[in-house]
Symmetry: C2
Subunit: 306 residues, 2 copies
């Protein structure tokens, strides 16, 4: 099977990445990062989250970030958890809302303190808020490829949630490997089954690298025809309690691989690398991204053994 | 295309990994690591190198390591650079010799101080030493998928070296992405071309993760029918001067992915993880492996966002 000629990168660093950073990143710094990503060519972004500031205080400036983020044709998505958040996101200039429900009961309860059915019926208020504004909604399904509490997740649980999203009006679904439990075969099974069942719905893969498989899973997704992937600058995101555990796919690593494969992303790799290195300095910790360490292609200091 | 049902892992940590560690690892510690790898089910290993101790003093105990390494049906390979090294390796109980030549002139000169033609004619003495002992020889081609000094490497340069190896009697060839410049499409192009040209020769892929692509390249190799891959415990190897730069594919990450895909490796993942964690303590630095941080499948502390 052949690869798509173009891939859209959904940069999730400002949401999924910042979420896992406990120290508050000043609003102006967040905006600098967002601006640089846009300047590098990122055209779609999960820009912030309207999670309760009590739960995640990193996002207490969600309104300001969204209001001041550069437009330039960029699609700014905001993650929302209730009608109030949806209203604020829309009023602050969000281009798209993202809702999330986990495909396992235990994970959903740990994540939002409710069972799946409650989460799903809670979505009505969000979709009602979005509708008069013609605001598109993306539905994310967490732990699609395995749950850290329950283990294997039946594909029907994933598709039932997707079905509900689509029925309520979502035009895009994110299949998320929240804790990096998927492997290329699970991607290769789920993607065509999803396409069969939801032929009109945009499919996005959100892959974490907790077990080193994220780039292989991206490749498997590509080979199954997926052309939208979530990635985060420097590979931020994931669990702050596991030192050096990888989070999302580093945006610059994905762009490097895709462009070298002849697949267009529209993103400037050199600019991303500079920004990832700056982010590493800002955060004061080594990030998982590899291209930011080795450089795009020539690296004089690279090892000299086979 | 379908995947092979079994894959052989060639553990290169004791050679490629240790090579990049400047502090001498005491011989007994090396042997402990080698024994644990064998106990975990590793059946083939690059166990040491007969590089000049002046060049790489880590291997000044090559004879002792090779003599005392556990047998149990394990194939112990030793990297050799001249007739003297080959003789010592054979006398110390090596099961197989590995020779290496780079596919780019500049890299070969930096690596061994000779041009490619000199390196290739220097092989005669090694093959002559091996022949009366019926000692098999594997030929490694470094920087097959790109050279950090010269950039793109013409496939003919790679195949000319492989041709010479085969003509001299090598029964296996390692195509090495020494500094992680390959991408899935370059693997997908080179592997079938290699098979066509050398149908009788065993093909091994040696993939580094300098740019985050190694596991995707492994998947691409699998899909092209490759069933032998070099990996290193914890992902050691690579350039010691780039902090946190990934080296080889972490053995435990490869075993995790392959086994989850239903491909047998014969290696005990839990045992590998314990050993990788111990190695991290021994070396006193965080290693690139991911499964060793997140655990094989259940991980209670894993992130709870999509």
């Amino acid at each position: 099977m052949d690869f798509p000629s173009q891939v859209k990168i959904r940069e999730v660093g400002p949401r999924d990445g910042f979420q896992s950073i406990s120290d508050f990143i000043p609003t102006e710094e967040k905006l600098q990062i967002i601006r640089s990503l846009v300047d590098a060519g990122v055209s779609e972004m999960e820009t912030t989250s309207f999670a309760s500031p009590k739960a995640i205080s990193q996002f207490r400036d969600a309104v300001d970030v969204l209001r001041m983020a550069p437009r330039k044709g960029v699609v700014h998505s905001a993650m929302v958890f209730n009608r109030g958040g949806a209203g604020k996101a829309i009023a602050s200039g969000a281009d798209r809302l993202v809702v999330v429900v986990s495909a396992s009961e235990t994970h959903n309860r740990k994540n939002v303190g409710r069972c799946i059915a409650e989460s799903l019926s809670g979505l009505d208020a969000i979709f009602q808020e979005a509708k008069p504004h013609l605001m598109p909604v993306t539905g994310a399904v967490a732990v699609c490829f395995g749950c850290p509490y329950e283990g294997e997740v039946p594909v029907n649980q994933v598709f039932n949630i997707a079905e509900t999203y689509v029925a309520k009006g979502a035009d895009a679904v994110i299949l998320a490997d929240t804790t990096g439990m998927g492997v290329p075969t699970s991607i290769r099974e789920m993607v065509p089954a999803f396409r069969d069942r939801f032929p009109e719905t945009e499919l996005i893969l959100h892959l974490h690298n907790n077990r080193g498989t994220a780039m292989a899973n991206l490749l498997s997704g590509l080979m199954s025809g997926v052309d939208i992937f979530d990635t985060a600058l420097g590979g931020i995101g994931g669990c702050p309690y596991v030192p050096q555990a990888s989070g999302n796919i580093p945006t610059e690593d994905a762009v490097f691989m895709l462009e070298e494969m002849g697949i267009e992303t529209g993103i400037d790799l050199e600019a991303l690398i500079s920004e990832a290195r700056l982010l590493e300095k800002r955060l004061g910790k080594i990030l998982p991204g590899q291209v930011m360490k080795s450089g795009p292609i020539f690296h004089k200091k690279a090892g000299i053994h086979p």
